[in-house]
């Protein structure tokens, strides 16, 4: 292991970065898979059903006790789903614009993964020069907003490429919705950064690190609320899942997609959910810090502890996402726009103003 | 070879020329408009490069303003194009020659 430390810093940096990227990517993908399962299970519980409990690989039956329990929990369901997506016929309709039809799903999934790059998901693993964040940018939040804003392209292009009216309308709706809520989202965060005084997400975590009382969720509840609701809109989740509202637009922008390309949209949605949760954890719930505080980890185990803490917080928020989906009715489109433009943006502006005034008063 | 100011300026000049070519050669009003944006971006690049190599933030402030103006300008320009399209049913410059005397 020590051999690494004899390399020059740039090489070290590149090496570490590659490792972090790969690990984060794998973990995110796993989370996506199991988020789908969680969604199905939670919806089942809410609807007083059992949920998926049959998929089982051949070896599971040989495990005593644990095997049937795992099957009952549906642990193997994601594998079955994945396999199904891969093996289904990949059908491309005749009149689509082929290049964009292929490009769109990829463009939906990629930004979500790229957002994760700036999120500090842990302190260190013992080496203070190697923080647990892929890119420690000093304009971190702007970067993530920029990337998120690129997410619109996938949807717009999907709508455009399908060359069919329902996907087209879905695409237009969805992109208008995302652009609108991006503004509210961005503005809500401004207040947070005014309090902290830095755009670097690591600094944000540091600021909240002392203990649970320093979490921004308490200091900027309005910002948190706006961010949370906007995140629902940004990820096209219920109660804002108009772009894909089955009852009106068949399936929205992904109506014409099937098989793996459809799976990519699916993947993108869940990855977006993960990214949004991770972002909220970082911005409002102290990131990797324990609720009782404690600075950067000293050893390897401490670092792992922080990562676990981060993941737990993130899972709770993911739970909220899923829970909300099965609890609230869908908004009408005009209500959605009204909420975004006429409620949230002014509210966020007021929040900024009040924050500025309070800060100015405190500084004097 | 160390990358210096003139490298950026050459890139900027080339991009600018590309945008200019788009403006002169393309016939679709929207594409012409995009080419204009490209020219604007080329200018921005030059400004940022100057700002960096002259140790002066003013260039970057200018770019900030240019981006802001560009956003407003694009919004208004596209609205005009849409209005024009609604009236004339075309966005093709060769069909838009009512200024001819």
């Amino acid at each position: 292991m020590d051999a690494i430390y004899y390399l020059d810093p740039t090489t070290q940096f590149v090496l570490f970065s590659i490792v972090k990227i790969v690990v984060a990517f794998v973990i995110t993908l796993t989370f996506v898979a199991y988020a789908v399962l969680a969604e199905r299970k939670i919806s089942a519980w809410i609807q007083d059903r059992v949920g998926p409990n049959r998929a089982t690989p051949f070896f599971a039956q040989y495990l005593p006790v644990i095997g049937p329990a795992l099957v009952r929990l549906g642990i193997f369901q994601p594998m079955a789903d994945g396999l199904k997506f891969l093996l289904k016929e990949d059908f491309t309709p005749a009149y689509v614009r082929k290049v964009y039809f292929w490009l769109a799903p990829a463009l939906t999934a990629i930004p979500a993964f790229m957002t994760i790059a700036v999120i500090p998901f842990g302190s260190t693993l013992g080496n203070p020069n190697n923080p647990m964040v892929i890119a420690d940018l000093n304009v971190g939040i702007l970067y993530s907003f920029g990337i998120v804003s690129l997410g619109v392209y996938g949807i717009v292009l999907a709508g455009y490429a399908s060359n069919s009216k329902y996907p087209f309308l879905g695409g237009i709706r969805s992109s208008a919705q995302m652009i609108s809520y991006e503004i509210a989202m961005g503005m809500s965060v401004v207040a947070v950064f005014m309090v902290i005084g830095d755009l670097n997400l690591s600094k944000v975590v540091e600021y909240q690190g002392a203990n649970i009382l320093h979490w921004m969720a308490w200091k900027q509840p309005l910002a948190f609320f706006i961010f949370l609701v906007s995140a629902f809109a940004e990820t096209n989740r219920l109660p804002f899942d108009l772009p894909e509202s089955e009852s009106e637009l068949v399936g929205g922008y992904h109506t014409e997609y099937s098989s793996m390309k459809f799976a990519l949209f699916f993947l993108g949605e869940y990855a977006n959910m993960i990214a949004a949760s991770a972002m909220m954890v970082t911005l409002f719930f102290g990131g990797w810090a324990y609720p009782w505080g404690g600075g950067a980890a000293q050893g390897f185990l401490g670092g792992v502890g922080h990562i676990v803490c981060f993941l737990v917080k993130m899972l709770v928020l993911m739970g909220v996402f899923i829970w909300v989906r099965w609890m609230f009715p869908r908004f009408r489109y005009d209500q959605l726009m009204d909420l975004g433009w006429r409620r949230f943006i002014p509210l966020a502006l007021v929040n900024i103003l009040v924050t500025a005034l309070v800060l100015a008063a405190l500084n004097d | 070879m160390i990358v210096g100011l003139h490298h950026y300026l050459v890139v900027s000049a080339l991009l600018f020329s590309l945008g200019l070519f788009g403006v002169l050669a393309r016939r679709n009003l929207l594409v012409i408009y995009m080419s204009l944006e490209l020219m604007l971006n080329a200018a921005n690049l030059a400004l940022v490069a100057f700002s960096r190599y002259n140790a002066n933030l003013k260039g970057q402030v200018m770019v900030f303003f240019i981006i802001t103006v560009a956003a407003a300008e694009v919004a208004v320009g596209l609205a005009l194009i849409v209005a024009l399209y609604r009236r004339r049913g075309t966005a093709h410059v060769e069909d838009l020659n009512s200024l001819r005397l």
Binding site: - | I32, N97, R100
Partner: protein, 648 residues
Amino acid sequence: MEPTHLPATNFQDLAWAILLLPLVSALAITLGLRRNRELTTTLSLSAVGIGFGLSVWLFFLYGVSGERLAATPLSWMSVGSLSAHLGLTVDPLSTLMLMVVTGVSFLVHVYSTGYMEDDPEYPRYFASLGFFTFSMLGIVLSDNFVQTFIFWELVGVSSYLLVGFWYEKPAAADAAKKAFLTNRIGDFGFLLGILIVWAATGTVSFDAMAAKLKAEPGILGAAASLAGVLIFLGAVGKSAQLPLHVWLPDAMEGPTPVSALIHAATMVAAGVYMLCRVYFLLDLPAAWPAALSFLGSISALDVIAWTGALTSLVAGVIAIQQDDIKRILAYSTLSQLGYMVMAVGCGGPDAAMFHLTTHACFKALLFLGAGAVIYACHHEQNIWKMGGLAKRMPVTFWTFLLATAALCGLPVLSSGFYSKDAIFAAALASNRPVLFGIGVLVVGLTTLYMSRLVIIAFLGESRSEAASHAADPGRNMTLPLLILAVPSVSLGWLPVGAYFKSAIFPGAVTHSAEGFSDVFFEPFNHSPLGAFLGFGLMAFGLSVAFATYWGAAMDPMPGHLPRLSRALRNRLYFDEIYAATLIPLHDAVAALADWVDRWIVQGLFVRGISGGMDLFGRALRLVQTGNLQTYAFLFVAGVALVVLLALK
């Protein structure tokens, strides 16, 4: 005495408040209250009323003590050596004048609430009245020529609005236009005069100008008399002196309270006030530029004095044969203004101001009385259709009689006696016996036509249905009459003349009356010749009037002296002469100017240039393809050229 420049103190606020209150009310009425009569009344009455209260306060605070204060001027513009500012002077002259203006204005406002009661344009009337009051106060308070001129013109505008208030009547609209245009002639001269003075002294501020003149008496050089006469020309227009007097009788087409305010008490007095304000500029030895050297030793004051005297005489003569009650009063106003101007010319601006003050009271009273009569007789203005009003309108009659006495200069019991005598004294003191003679003669004329008016309109039998049912108007119209009657009678008993003397000539020795006989019979002691002669001529005029008109059913004069009567009834053909001479001349000049404008300016220059451009444009038009990208290409080519040139 140099004015004391004080920092912002209450006198300044007071002066500004007095000036701006009427404007505020006028604006508020114009902008917001065009339909609300009650609010209009309250607002304009309180604006002027408060203004009057403040004026009285200001008078007792500063006027009586003789202090001269100048409010810190607000710089308004500065062009080259001309720096104009808005400044207010508070000195004895302006404080007393403020009281006169706001006081009469207030009474006229009160009176108007009755007189104009039924008019559908009631709010517009009060807005114009407020605007006029504001403009007039501006002249009174102004401390420099530019500001005076501005407010001078504002007075012209507001008077235009008021004279032409009933613009649907062609006569009223024409009269307003005539007043405005006639005034323009005078204002033109006034402006020239201001420019000459400014060019010579380099300042437009009265105080600075006076100081410079004191330090260097010959500063105006050869233009001294010319400047004086030109400035006087402004007063000729505004105070309706001889060649430009024609507008005032016609201006009687306006509502009668307006006549009382504008054409008796304030606006026409503005000319006299201005002359007194700049008296130091007029009282200079004769000096004419070479082109006018034939005028020799005639000084500006001589011109002024003679103009005033002639106006006084001519107007008095014309008044004898007028039948319209308001026109009689208008000519009498002309005659009295002539007195004032003559007094200024005779070196007695204090006498002029004295007469201005008393005249303001009794002439306003006369007009308001006339208004009451007209109101009672259903807008009948011909005195031959009245008669016997004394019994039916006692309040109006008695107040009118008192004012008539004051106008004629009834000894002791009228204010006019004292002020006129001061003028005669000034004429004698300046060694101008002819002018003195004219002045005294006019007393007789005045008595003659005023007695004629009173005898025909108020005494005898009613000559018309309307007159036989006339009655005193309501209290809001009689009250101003009664109030105005008090100063009309008693103002002469106060040392107003001495007050003005010390105001205009600071440090002058003033004769102060003490004791009963000295106070009441002061003119008989002070200048007995004028007093006795005037009294005698007054008695003569009165007896002639009674002999001629007592019991007469119609005017006997056209029967006995047909030619003279016709000439007088036609106002000595002034309007006709103007129509035959000046107006064709003016039309010819206008036609020439029109020709130049049409063919030279418009044709050669404007059309020529535009035609050339058009031709050029037609040539350039060939380049226009209407193709966006061609334009872009040309543009880029141009830019490339510029860049190339810049790189060289």
